[in-house]
Amino acid sequence: MEIVNPCFSVLSNFEVLESLKNIKDTKKKYGLRNLATITYETLQYLEESPCKHQNRDVICAFIKDMQPYKLTTNELLMMVNDPPSSALHIQLLIEDSEERLTEDQVNEIIEITKKHFPGPPAESS
């Protein structure tokens, strides 16, 4: 076993959810007990998280709308995985948010998040 690149790219929770669902659907009848365990447990965790109600288009649109705020990839990823609902939440996800964002911008971000990730009731299909 050789590690070519331990972090080739980062994945959002949604992407992981998607891949794991595929694996679960094409389930093998034999052997792979470890895979079944970890797939099941991870799916359970992800289905309780906000990414259950996301899809590719929504995430792309969200990232596009967030462009003007000059956030790092990592910060954006965290916001997609855990859409912020309050100013306090944004402060946690973004380093030095007081210096980098004005109060109005913080409110705008909350609005954008609400628009793209309305949560369970609106999108539970």
Binding site: P6, C7, S9, V16, S19, M78
Partner: protein
């Protein structure tokens, strides 16, 4: 919190799997080898994402199996330092608060990284945040088992735990199989291959209901100043109940 790791390995396909398509057989073999295992300095392996390239398969003298060098990408759980994650409290002890994500259990919040001031309640076996009130008193916020909790990853620790690894462990002897299994058992008990040390000593972190409550209170305070006191009290008593409604 998840990442793709690019790995290279030579996969042995036993003759009984020759009826399968090569790619399928290799996918299974890789998953069998890696799923739900920790790879040193890479993370907890979850599932195979895709195969990047396959080299020509070769056979070795005296072995009916085929060997194929393959480069592939694997989904691994490895949150970056300073990421914020949400998990559930597994249990509390003097060491701190143990948190689980369901698929990953080895997350510890040491006492020094809890909200300040916190104390360990012996009778309840739980950590308590002594939230200071305006009148100089304090309000005890318990960290009960099973409650969802938000935390920041502050450190990751990888440890070599397998006896089959590089020959650093002196206990490893090429003796009988019984000896090897017993050392494997001991090593498994004493060492955790991948641990995360987390912190919740920032506002907004900790048990989710702490902050939900506060937001509710803030909202209510904004709406109707007069009723603030009553609501305060009700919310505190209900705790989880209010949250569920």
């Amino acid at each position: 919190m998840f990442a793709l790791a690019e790995l290279k390995d030579t996969i042995r396909i036993a003759p009984e799997q020759f009826n399968l398509k090569l790619v399928e057989a290799i996918r299974d073999e890789i998953n069998r080898k890696l799923a739900n295992k920790v790879l040193l300095n890479v993370g907890l392996c979850i599932a195979l994402k895709d195969i990047v390239s396959l080299k020509d398969s070769i056979i070795l003298p005296g072995d009916g199996a085929s060997h194929t060098e393959v480069i592939f990408r694997y989904i691994v759980f490895r949150p970056a330092i300073s990421n914020i994650l949400t998990g559930k409290i597994r249990n509390c002890s003097h060491e701190g608060v143990h948190v689980t994500l369901g698929f990953f259990d080895d997350i510890l919040i040491p006492p020094t990284a809890l909200q300040h001031p916190s104390r360990f309640d012996e009778t309840e076996q739980a950590w308590v945040w002594e939230y200071p009130l305006e009148d100089g008193g304090k309000h005890d916020l318990f960290m009960d088992v099973g409650e969802p909790i938000k935390f920041r990853v502050s450190r990751e620790i990888f440890e070599e735990s397998s006896p089959i690894g590089p020959p650093t462990s002196e206990s490893m002897k090429p003796g009988t199989s019984a000896a090897t299994t017993s050392t494997a058992g001991q090593a498994g008990e004493s060492k955790t291959p991948y641990r995360i040390i987390a912190a919740i000593n920032e506002s907004g972190l900790g048990v989710l209901s702490w902050w939900d409550q506060q937001q509710q209170e803030d909202d209510e305070a904004g709406d109707e100043e007069g009723e603030e006191d009553n609501n305060d009290y009700e919310n505190d008593e209900n705790g989880e109940g209010a949250y569920e409604e």
